[in-house]
C-alpha cells in the first residue's frame, strides 16, 4: 500500500558517517529487511523513515510525498506509519486497551469505532482477554504483541519494526516470526524490518538489504543473497563460510597452504584469489577419489550434522557432513574431500577489511 523511495540519503553524527548514499526503493506490499551487524546504520535508516532522525542530505519519499529532504520535514506524527520498538515502549500507566487505542484517540476517532477496531486488532494478535491488564502484568511476548497491535490499529500504510523479537526467548521468537509474516500477508502492508539475525531475515523477507558500515553491500531475495553473495562480507555474514587463499591458473586453483593441492576451476578469474566455501558444500569421499586429501583431526557430533575438522597441508578445513557419516569416520583417518560448490573472489585485501569490523 505504500512505497518508500530513498534518494541519496546520507546521515552523519558529527564526523561519524553512519549512512552513505542510501539509494533504494521499497515496493508496495513488500517485506523488506535491513540486515547487518550492530552499528551498521540499519536502525538509523529506520529512524529516518519514521522521522526520528533527519538525513544529513538526500531525500525520502513515502508513496510519492516528500517527507524528508531539503527544507521539507514531516514530523513522525504526520507520517501515518506504525512502528514497533525494540523495547516495546508499552506505556506503563495505561492498560492494554488504552495503549492500543492511543493512535485512534489522538485522531479523535469516535468511541464506538475505537472499541471496534481495538477489539479487532487485539484478536489478530491474540490478546483479546488481556485488554484490561496493565503492562506490568504481561509477559515480554505479550507486551511485544501489544506494541504490534498499537502499531497496526490505525491501519498504517507502512509498518516499521526495530528488532522487535530480540528481547524474546528462542521458542517465542520463532513463532512470532511467522505470526508477523502472516499478519503482513493478511493486511498486505509494506513492512520495513530491522534485525541483526540472519535467520529471521531469511525466513520473513521478500528482499534483504545487507548493510555494513553504512553501505548497502547487497540487496536481493533471501535465496540469491545466500547463494550468490556479492562479496566476501555478504558470504561471511550469511551462514558459515571459510576462505582459502589460492592461485587461479590454467583451469585450476592451487592452494599453497594445502601443500599445493588444487581444485579444478573454469571461471574467468586468474592470479591470486580468495575461495569461499560453505562447510556443508564439502563432502567426504575415499582418499583416492577426492579433489583434496587430508587427515581427519576432530569431529563434533551435533545430531543432525557432523561438524569435522580436516587437516589439508597446513590448513584446517571445516566440513559439515550429514549426521550419519559420524559412525564411519575415525580421528586420524585419511580422507578425500570433494568441494561441490564454491565462490571465487579476487584476493585484493578486501576480505580482511570487511571482516575486521564485524561483530
Amino acid at each position: 500500500m505504500a512505497t518508500v523511495t530513498i534518494k541519496h540519503v546520507t546521515k552523519a553524527f558529527g564526523d561519524n558517517v553512519v549512512l552513505k548514499e542510501f539509494n533504494e526503493t521499497f515496493r508496495d506490499g513488500e517485506f523488506v529487511t535491513l540486515l547487518g551487524p550492530s552499528g551498521c546504520g540499519k536502525t538509523t535508516m529506520l529512524r529516518i523513515i519514521a522521522g526520528f532522525e533527519k538525513p544529513s542530505s538526500g531525500e525520502l519519499y513515502i508513496d510519492d510525498q516528500l517527507v524528508s529532504g531539503g527544507k521539507t520535514f514531516v514530523p513522525p506524527e504526520k507520517r501515518s506509519v506504525g512502528m514497533v520498538f525494540q523495547s516495546y515502549a508499552v506505556w506503563p500507566h495505561m492498560n492494554v486497551f488504552d495503549n492500543v487505542a492511543y493512535p485512534l484517540t489522538i485522531k479523535k476517532t469516535p468511541k464506538a469505532e475505537i472499541k471496534e477496531r481495538v477489539d479487532k486488532v487485539l484478536e489478530i494478535v491474540h490478546l483479546s482477554q488481556y485488554a484490561q491488564r496493565f503492562p506490568n502484568q504481561l509477559s515480554g511476548g505479550q507486551q511485544q504483541r501489544v506494541a504490534l497491535a498499537r502499531a497496526l490499529v490505525a491501519a498504517p500504510k507502512l509498518l516499521l519494526l526495530d528488532e522487535p523479537l530480540s528481547n524474546l526467548d528462542a521458542k517465542l521468537r520463532e513463532s512470532m516470526r511467522f505470526e508477523i509474516k502472516e499478519i503482513q500477508k493478511q493486511l498486505g502492508i509494506t513492512v520495513v524490518y530491522v534485525t541483526h539475525d540472519q535467520t529471521e531475515a531469511m525466513a520473513m523477507s521478500d528482499r534483504i538489504f545487507l548493510i555494513n558500515r553504512g553501505v548497502v553491500q547487497q540487496c536481493d531475495s533471501p535465496e540469491n543473497i545466500y547463494n550468490q553473495p556479492a562479496n566476501q562480507f555478504v558470504a561471511d555474514f550469511l551462514g558459515k563460510v571459510e576462505f582459502f587463499k589460492g592461485e587461479a591458473k590454467e583451469g585450476k586453483i592451487t592452494f599453497p597452504a594445502m601443500s599445493n593441492q588444487f581444485i579444478s576451476y573454469d571461471g574467468p578469474k586468474t592470479g591470486r584469489v580468495e575461495v569461499a566455501v560453505r562447510p556443508e558444500n564439502i563432502e567426504f569421499v575415499a582418499p583416492e577419489e577426492g579433489q583434496l586429501r587430508g587427515t581427519l583431526e576432530a569431529q563434533y557430533y551435533l545430531g543432525d550434522v557432523d561438524d569435522c575438522r580436516v587437516r589439508v597441508g597446513d590448513t584446517l578445513v571445516r566440513v559439515i557432513a550429514p549426521g550419519h557419516v559420524f559412525k564411519n569416520l575415525k580421528d586420524g583417518q585419511e580422507v578425500g574431500l570433494n568441494v561441490r560448490e564454491f565462490l571465487v573472489f579476487d584476493d585484493d585485501g578486501m576480505l580482511e577489511q570487511l571482516l575486521q569490523i564485524q561483530t
Binding site: P75, M83, Y102, P103
Partner: protein, 831 residues
C-alpha cells in the same frame, strides 16, 4: 549418609548459634540487673553523686599504701605499751572526729566498725587518715613549708617524736609542733599532733592525693555519706566492676537493654533467614541499628512521650494551651500556607524547567542545569539575607528602583519582604531545586522510545508531553513536591531571618523561641515539634510507600539518549525567559550578597566611595572567633562525612551484595532520620542526651556530629547504593575467580569503580554539615559554635555586611568544593 551428616552439622550450627545468642542475652539481662541493683543502691545511699563509688574505688589502694608505707613502720618502732596507748588514743580521736562531723556521738558506730575488723589497729589508722584528710585539724601553709623542708632523716625523727607525743602528752615536742599546738589543750592537741604526723608523711603535705579528696568532698557532702565513704574506702570493698556499675548505672541499663533488643532482633532475623549463621555482617547491621535507635528513635519517642505525658500522666493540657495561643495558631497556619504555596509554586517551576533543560534544544541546557542544581548546595539563609536586602520595604534595591521608575516618592514599598508572601517567595527560590532534581532524574531515566511511540502514533510533541511524559513522571513529581513541602515546613534559616522582623512566625521559629525560655520552654517546644514531626512522618510514609509503588521509572542499565524536542521559533524566546529567571532567582541574590559585603552602611550604594570598604573581608579573615568557628565547621563536616561515608559504603554492600534479612531496617531508619525536620532531631537529642538516659554528650561536639549524621547520612548513602547497583556482581565474582581475596576485590575492582560516587557521597554529607544552621542553633556551646551560626549571629545582632562577607565566603568554599569534586570524579559528578 552425606545428607544426614550435613543436616547434623546444620543442626549443630543452629544449636551453637542459639547458645551464643542465649549467652549474650543473659549478659544483657545481667547488665540490666546490675544496673537496676546499682540504681537501688544509689537510691538508698546518701551520696550526692553517682561518681562517689568511683572515687572510693580510687581511694582504697592509696589508703592502703599510705598505711603500709607511712604509718605501720612507725607504729612497729614503738614499744608495746606506747603502741597500745597510741591505739587507744587513736580510737578516741576517731570517735571525736566522726562525732564532730556528724554532730552527734558516734562511739557506737566506731566501736561496731572496729569490732568487725581483724586488724583494728590498721583499720582505725586508715579511717583516721581518710577522715583527717577530709575534715581534720588544719595545718597552715607556713607549717607545711617547715615540714616540707625536712630531710628524710629529720622527717623520720619528727614523725616518731610526734607518734610518741600522741601516747604521752607530756613528752617533749619538736619545735614546729610547740608553736602549732600552743593554743590547743587535751585531745585537740593530740588531734593536731596526729595531723602533723600524717601530713609530714608527704613532702607536699597531702598524704592522700588532693584531687581524690576534693572529688570525694563534692560527691559525699552529708556527714552520713562521708562516714559511709570512709568505711568503704577502708574496707576496700568496692571492686572495679561494682564501681563501674555504680558510677554508670543508667549507661549500664541502657547497654543492657540495647544488647537485649539486639539479641531478640537477631534471633528473629536469623529465624527468618533460616541460616542460623553468625557472621560479622550482623554485627555491622546491629551497630548501625543501635546507633539509629539511640540517637534517632529514642529521642523521637521521648519527644512524643514528653509531649503527651508532661508530668508522667496523659494530658492534652500542654497541647490545649499551646494551640489555643494565637501566636502559635498563626505560626501553624503560616507554616502550612508557606509550605503548601512553596510546594505548588516550586513544582510548577520545576517541571517546565526540568523538561526544558532535559528534553528540548534550548540554548545552554547544561549550564542552566548546573546553575539550578547549585542552589541546592547553597545555605538557604543566604537567600533570605539577599532577598532581605533586595526587597526591604524602605531600602531594598528593587524597591528603590521600582519607586524611581514609577515616581512613587519616598513611601515604603511597593514590595515588602517581611510578609508571608515574601517568605513564600524566598522559600520557593530556594526549594524548587529539590523538585527540579527529582523530576529531571525521572525524565533522564525514561525510555525515549515511550515518547517516540506516542509520536509515531500521531501525537504532537506537546501532546506527548501531556499524555505520556507528564503522567509517567507524576510519581516523581509528587515525590518532589512533597520533598519541597517538608523542606519548606521544616526550614528555620529563612523564616527566622525574614519572619522575625516581620512578625511572620512559623512552627520552627516558635520552637526555637520556646527553647530560649529554658525548662518550661522545652515542654512547649516539644508540643510544637510533635506537630512538625507528624507532618514529616505522614509525608515520608506517602512518598516511601504509596508513591514508590506507583513508580513507573526504574533504573535501567542501558544508557538512553533522551528525545530532544525542537523548540523551533520558540527556541530564543524560551532561552531568554529562562535566562531572566536564572538571573533573578540565582545571580541577583549572589551578587547582592557580594556587593553588600563591601558596604559600610547596608542602606547605601556600594558605588558611593564613602560607603565602599574591604574592612568586612579583612575582619572576617582576622577575627579569631570567626576562624575558630570556621575550624569547628570544617572539623564537624569532615568527621560527619567520613563516618557517614563509611556507614554508607557498609550499608550499600549489605543492601546490594547480601541477602541478609534485616538489611532493610537500618536503611529504613536512615531514611526516617533524613525525613525528620532538623529542629525535631536537635530537640530530641537535647532532651535525651544530657545524661538522663546514660549518655551525656550535651554541649559537646559529639551531639552536633550525631545530629548531622542522623540528618544527612542518607544523602551519601543513596549515592553509593545507586553506584553499587550499577556494578554487576559478576565483575566482583570474576575477580574472585581470578584468585583475588574479598578485600583485594573490594580494593581493586569495586572500590575504583564506585570511587566517584564515594567521593560525591562524602561531599553530599560534608557540604550541608559544613554550613548547617537549624540544628546548630539548638546544640551549640561556646566551644562548638559553627560558621553558619556565627554568620547568623552577625546578621541578626551585629553587622550585616560582615555576615554577607562570611556568606559569600561560604558560597566560594561550596563552589570550590564542587569544582574539586568534578575534577576528582573526572566530570562524572558535580552538584
Amino acid at each position: 549418609m552425606q545428607v544426614q551428616r550435613d543436616l547434623q552439622t546444620r543442626n549443630q550450627g543452629e544449636l551453637r548459634c542459639k547458645l551464643v545468642l542465649l549467652i549474650v542475652l543473659l549478659l544483657g539481662a545481667a547488665l540490666i540487673g546490675a544496673g537496676v541493683w546499682g540504681m537501688g543502691e544509689l537510691a538508698t545511699s546518701s551520696f550526692e553523686q553517682e561518681g562517689a563509688y568511683g572515687i572510693i574505688y580510687q581511694l582504697s589502694p592509696q589508703l592502703n599504701s599510705v598505711y603500709e608505707k607511712d604509718i605501720r613502720p612507725y607504729m612497729e618502732k614503738l614499744d608495746a605499751s606506747t603502741r597500745e596507748t597510741v591505739n587507744a588514743k587513736a580510737r578516741e580521736l576517731l570517735i571525736l572526729n566522726w562525732s564532730e562531723q556528724a554532730k552527734s556521738d558516734q562511739t557506737a558506730l566506731v566501736d561496731s566498725v572496729l569490732a568487725s575488723e581483724k586488724d583494728p589497729e590498721a583499720a582505725q589508722m586508715k579511717l583516721l587518715a581518710v577522715s583527717y584528710s577530709m575534715a581534720g585539724p588544719k595545718v597552715s601553709s607556713k607549717e607545711k613549708k617547715v615540714l616540707a623542708a625536712f630531710s628524710d632523716a629529720e622527717r623520720d625523727e619528727f614523725r616518731l617524736q610526734a607518734l610518741g607525743a600522741i601516747a604521752n602528752d607530756q613528752a617533749e615536742l619538736p619545735e614546729v609542733l610547740v608553736s602549732a599546738t600552743a593554743k590547743d589543750e587535751g585531745m585537740d592537741k593530740t588531734a593536731k599532733i596526729l595531723q602533723f604526723f600524717l601530713t609530714a608523711a608527704d613532702a607536699e603535705g597531702n598524704y592522700l592525693p588532693k584531687e581524690i579528696i576534693n572529688n570525694l568532698k563534692k560527691a559525699a557532702r552529708s556527714a552520713n555519706a562521708r562516714l559511709t565513704a570512709y568505711q568503704m574506702a577502708e574496707k576496700g570493698e568496692i571492686n572495679f566492676f561494682s564501681q563501674l556499675i555504680l558510677s554508670n548505672t543508667k549507661t549500664v541499663v541502657l547497654v543492657g537493654i540495647t544488647i537485649l533488643l539486639d539479641v531478640l532482633l537477631l534471633f528473629f532475623l536469623l529465624k527468618a533467614d533460616g541460616g542460623w549463621q553468625l557472621s560479622f555482617k550482623w554485627l555491622i547491621i546491629l551497630a548501625i541499628i543501635d546507633f539509629m535507635l539511640l540517637f534517632q528513635v529514642l529521642p523521637m519517642i521521648y519527644l512524643v512521650i514528653t509531649a503527651f505525658f508532661p508530668e508522667g500522666r496523659f494530658t492534652f493540657e500542654v497541647f490545649a494551651r499551646l494551640y489555643t495561643y494565637p501566636m502559635n495558631q498563626g505560626a501553624l497556619v503560616n507554616t502550612l500556607i508557606a509550605a503548601g504555596a512553596t510546594m505548588v509554586l516550586g513544582t510548577l517551576l520545576a517541571f517546565p524547567l526540568a523538561w526544558l533543560v532535559g528534553r528540548t534544544n534550548m540554548y545552554g541546557r547544561k549550564f542552566f542545569r548546573s546553575l539550578f542544581v547549585l542552589t541546592y548546595m547553597v545555605p538557604p539563609y543566604l537567600g533570605a539575607m539577599a532577598w532581605l536586602r533586595l526587597l526591604n520595604p524602605n531600602v531594598g534595591t528593587i524597591n528603590v528602583i521600582l519607586r524611581s521608575l514609577f515616581g512613587m516618592g519616598d513611601t515604603p514599598g511597593p514590595l515588602n519582604i517581611y510578609t508571608l508572601g515574601g517568605l513564600i517567595w524566598v522559600l520557593t527560590t530556594f526549594y524548587y531545586p529539590y523538585a527540579f532534581i527529582t523530576i529531571s532524574r525521572a525524565m533522564e531515566k525514561m525510555d525515549p522510545s515511550l515518547e517516540e511511540a506516542s509520536r509515531i502514533s500521531g501525537a504532537s510533541p506537546l501532546m506527548t508531553v501531556f499524555k505520556i511524559t507528564l503522567p509517567m513522571a507524576t510519581p516523581s513529581l509528587i515525590a518532589g513536591a512533597l520533598l519541597v513541602f517538608i523542606s519548606a515546613a521544616s526550614c528555620y534559616g529563612i523564616p527566622s531571618i525574614i519572619g522575625a522582623p516581620g512578625k511572620v512566625h512559623t512552627v520552627t521559629t516558635r520552637i526555637i523561641e520556646y527553647m530560649g525560655l529554658g525548662a518550661r520552654g522545652i515542654s512547649d517546644a516539644t508540643g510544637l515539634a510533635v506537630f512538625l514531626m507528624a507532618i514529616a512522618m505522614i509525608i515520608l510514609f506517602i512518598s516511601d510507600f504509596v508513591i514508590a509503588k506507583k513508580q513507573y521509572i526504574t533504573v535501567s542499565g542501558k544508557s538512553t539518549r533522551p528525545n530532544i524536542v525542537d523548540l523551533g521559533k520558540w527556541r530564543i524566546p524560551v532561552t531568554a525567559i529562562v535566562t531572566l529567571f536564572a538571573g533573578v532567582v540565582i545571580v541577583l541574590p549572589f551578587v547582592t550578597i557580594l556587593t553588600t559585603s563591601f558596604k559600610l552602611d547596608v542602606g547605601k550604594s556600594m558605588f558611593d566611595p564613602a560607603n565602599f570598604t574591604t574592612e568586612n573581608w579583612t575582619t572576617i579573615f582576622s577575627r579569631t572567633e570567626t576562624i575558630a568557628c570556621l575550624k569547628n565547621s570544617l572539623i564537624f563536616g569532615v568527621v560527619t562525612a567520613t563516618i557517614g561515608i563509611v556507614i554508607a559504603c557498609t550499608m550499600s554492600y549489605l543492601l546490594q551484595r547480601t541477602r541478609i534479612k534485616g538489611r532493610k531496617i537500618p536503611d529504613f531508619l536512615i531514611a526516617l532520620g533524613s525525613g525528620t525536620p532538623s529542629v525535631v532531631i536537635a530537640l530530641g537529642l537535647i532532651m535525651t542526651m544530657k545524661g538522663n538516659f546514660g549518655i551525656n554528650i550535651y554541649n559537646t561536639a559529639y551531639i552536633i556530629i550525631v545530629a548531622y549524621l542522623v540528618k544527612y547520612l542518607m544523602m551519601g548513602m543513596r549515592t553509593v547504593v545507586s553506584a553499587m547497583s550499577q556494578i554487576h556482581v559478576s565483575l566482583e565474582e570474576c575477580s574472585q575467580i581470578s584468585g583475588a581475596s574479598w578485600v583485594k576485590t573490594m580494593l581493586k575492582i569495586t572500590g575504583p569503580l564506585i570511587f566517584p560516587s564515594i567521593a560525591a557521597g562524602w561531599f553530599l554529607i560534608f557540604i550541608p554539615s559544613f554550613y548547617e544552621l537549624s540544628m546548630t542553633t539548638l546544640l551549640y556551646s561556646n566551644s562548638t559554635k559553627t560558621i553558619g551560626f556565627q554568620l547568623y549571629e552577625y546578621w541578626t545582632f551585629t553587622n550585616q555586611p560582615q555576615a554577607c562577607a562570611m556568606a559569600f565566603g561560604i558560597l566560594i568554599i561550596v563552589i570550590v568544593l564542587n569544582f574539586v569534586l568534578n575534577r576528582l570524579t573526572k566530570g562524572e559528578f558535580s552538584i
